[in-house]
């Protein structure tokens, strides 16, 4: 063997990309006889499938059923004159999203493309007046971004504002849509969230600037006042919630409410207090042991008989949302419990040894690590929760899948089930894919200090 000369030799030039591609192909696709055969067969199958799909999409299919009924897919029987409520919610959310991107993230092409695709679908298919509204929403997204850019001198205050905005997004959205009797309840929820935030900030050792404290305090007072005086905000009867709006509302309500509930259940199940532990364990095992469809039927037909007189005519959608929340919480509890168990005992001991109290140990040391560890599982759970919302068909609610089936009963669209169902599948896929991307992003962002 000759000694390797390390001094005179220049590093070899990178191979031309064509050469590299050929090299890659011979290495990976045609490495052996069997490998080559597999490659050829796979390509043939792929080509056949692609041909069939493209032929169907562009030649055989008649997409008029989807175009004509776009409004039904999106909002079902939601009254036309009330659609502004949904637009208001979307505008609010897009402004927040824009500001958040400016403050904490960057608009990666993939996310931009995904959200644009979802937005275009939602808006373009939703109403006849979609285009101006689509522009408005995109405009708000941009103006949220720009506002944050212009006001970057007050970045911190702005960040606080946006965080409060997100915390209140849930109640505000629901008030926009449900209005009426929901106001006191949602004001209570908002007051609770804001109140916890204030208490947390006030006790965190980093005092709030006085001005911020003043207006947050004022907002808190307004919310608390709203709990008692009931402004007669008209809403849309929940029996009219349908189409994709219904799927999304159920999924959001169930996710937002079941997450904290699930975390509490997980902590309860791992608690040292026997009564708490038994109650949580029984709840989790009971719910997990029953199919979701059964739970939906129970909350439709059986639950009213067990409720006190005053709650007996709680409307169906609310009962169904409660069912989804209860169901989801049990699963989240088990996922989070897995995360809690993955935290080494030394973490708790180190925190205790520093004098941190029980709650502080959980909030600052244990839970952030436990939840970060289970983000992939949680993402999966939220995806299946969203897909499960189409099970509301069994209790007579009209979700997007039900719309997709019933529009083909119209005389001019008889026989167009394929197009309709494929479109529904595409909508589900687009949304779940976005959730999955957000999950991956969170994972990457929070994985900074990975051990």
């Amino acid at each position: 063997m000759t000694a390797i000369d390390v001094t005179s030799e220049r590093p070899p030039a990178p191979p031309l990309s064509l050469v590299r591609a050929r090299r890659w192909a011979t290495d990976n696709l045609f490495g052996s006889l069997g490998n080559s055969a597999l490659t050829l067969i796979s390509v043939a199958i792929l080509a056949y499938v692609a041909y069939q799909v493209l032929r169907f999409v562009f030649i055989t299919a008649d997409w008029e059923v989807v175009l004509d009924n776009r409004r039904l897919y999106f909002a079902g029987r939601f009254p036309d004159e009330e659609m502004w409520r949904i637009w208001m919610s979307l505008w609010y959310l897009s402004a927040l999203t824009g500001a958040s991107f400016r403050l904490w993230g960057r608009l990666t092409p993939l996310i931009a493309a995904a959200s644009a695709a979802v937005a275009v679908l939602l808006f373009a298919f939703a109403t006849d007046y979609a285009q101006p509204r689509l522009l408005l929403a995109l405009g708000l997204l941009a103006s949220g971004y720009l506002a944050a850019a212009v006001l970057s001198r007050w970045r911190r205050q702005l960040a606080g504002l946006v965080i409060v905005g997100w915390l209140l997004a849930f109640p505000i959205t629901i008030v926009f849509i449900a209005g009426g009797a929901a106001v006191p309840l949602l004001a209570a929820a908002g007051a609770f969230v804001l109140g916890s935030y204030l208490v947390w900030r006030l006790t965190s050792g980093e005092p709030l600037p006085r001005r911020e404290l003043a207006w947050l305090g004022a907002l808190e007072l307004v919310l608390m006042a709203l709990i008692f005086i009931e402004p007669n905000v008209e809403g849309v009867d929940s029996r009219l919630w349908s189409g994709l709006v219904l799927n999304i509302l159920i999924a959001i309500v169930a996710s937002v409410l079941s997450f904290p509930l699930g975390v509490v259940l997980a902590l309860g199940r791992t608690s040292g207090l026997p009564v708490v532990r038994v109650v949580c364990t029984v709840y989790i095992e009971l719910i997990r042991g029953v199919p979701l469809i059964t739970i939906l039927f129970i909350s439709w037909l059986v639950l009213p008989d067990f409720l006190p007189e005053s709650l007996r005519d709680t409307d169906l959608v609310v009962r169904i949302m409660a069912a989804f929340t209860a169901f989801s919480a049990a699963y989240i509890a088990e996922i989070v419990r897995g995360g809690l168990q993955s935290i080494p005992r030394g973490q708790r001991e180190a925190a205790q040894a520093l004098g941190l109290g029980g709650v502080a140990v959980l909030v600052f040391v244990i839970l952030p690590q436990a939840i970060r560890a289970v983000i992939p599982a949680l993402t999966g759970h939220f995806i299946s929760l969203f897909k499960d919302t189409s099970l509301v068909i069994v209790v007579g609610l009209t979700d997007i899948l039900d719309v997709g089936r019933s529009v083909t009963a119209q005389r001019e669209f008889i026989g167009r089930q394929k197009e309709s169902l494929l479109f529904v599948a595409l909508v589900f896929w687009l949304i779940t894919f976005s959730i999955s991307r957000v999950g991956q992003r969170l994972e990457r962002r929070l994985g900074v200090g990975e051990r």
Partner: protein, 262 residues
């Protein structure tokens, strides 16, 4: 690195040896894990500014003893008084003692999801209620003292083992502890990193900190210790000055142990 002299002297700490004040008083401390008795009656006194090194084979109860001193383990019988406060089920006592006793673990136990800065300031802001700016200043000062000021905004996983252990020491010192416990602080380290941690501990001992150290680093122990405690089978078998141990150990078990590790 820490080649330049590490000065850990607290401004107010006089450079003297053990005072007459009792820092830790243990009277017949017993502890069971299920049926296994880990401590069979430990009685000892540690004076203020004293450096005590605890030796003994594994399973002899030395870690358990250390962990009883800030109540990470609860003792079943006997009495432990730390800086005048008795350790019992009174939560106020517990809080007071825990924030006055710092502990450094074999496995560092830094919080991996927080930056070095936040690891150090977490307890300052949430237990001591210190404003964030003051806590940050304290973190910077401590990191200078342990020789890694430039690592303040990194995460623990980005540091070497020796650096992590020095952050752990800084984190414990941030609370201004009156007593520092070290539970085999160099056992999980690669050999080339042991020195940098021992240097920091040596500086701390010289500054007059009261320390109880479980370690197998005999050179270091001999140099800094005022007194050795030799544990075996949950009891203090022998105690005395380093000189006594190295030149004239009395008990058979001590001799056997020393012959094995030296």
């Amino acid at each position: 690195m820490v080649e330049e002299t590490v000065t850990l002297a607290e401004p107010e700490a006089p450079d003297g040896r053990a005072s007459e004040k009792d820092m830790v008083v243990c009277t017949d401390v017993k502890k069971w894990f299920g049926d296994f008795q880990a401590l069979k009656g430990i009685t000892t006194v540690v004076k203020e500014r004293e450096v005590v090194v605890v030796l003994g084979p594994s399973g002899s109860g030395k870690s358990t003893f250390l962990r009883c001193l800030n109540r990470l383990e609860e003792h079943d019988e006997g009495q432990i008084i730390v800086d005048g406060v008795e350790l019992n089920n009174d939560l106020r006592n517990l809080e007071k003692v825990r924030s006055e006793v710092g502990i450094v673990f074999q496995q560092f136990n830094l919080f991996p999801h927080l930056t070095v800065r936040r690891n150090i300031t977490l307890a300052l802001t949430h237990v001591r209620r210190m404003p964030k700016t003051a806590a940050n200043a304290r973190a910077e000062e401590l990191l200078r003292r342990v020789g890694i000021p430039e690592q303040i905004d990194t995460y623990p996983a980005q540091l070497s083992g020796g650096q992590q252990q020095r952050v752990a020491i800084a984190r414990a010192l941030a609370m201004h502890p009156r007593l520092m416990l070290f539970d085999e602080p160099t056992s999980a380290l690669d050999p080339e990193m042991i020195k940098e941690v021992l240097d920091v501990m040596r500086g701390l001992a010289e500054s007059g900190m009261t320390m109880i150290v479980v370690t197998h680093e005999m050179g270091f122990a001999r140099e800094v210790a005022d007194r050795f405690l030799f544990f075996d089978g949950g009891l203090i078998v022998e105690e005395g000055t380093p000189q006594h141990f190295f030149e004239n150990p009395q008990e058979e078990r001590t001799k056997l142990f020393l012959s094995q590790i030296l």
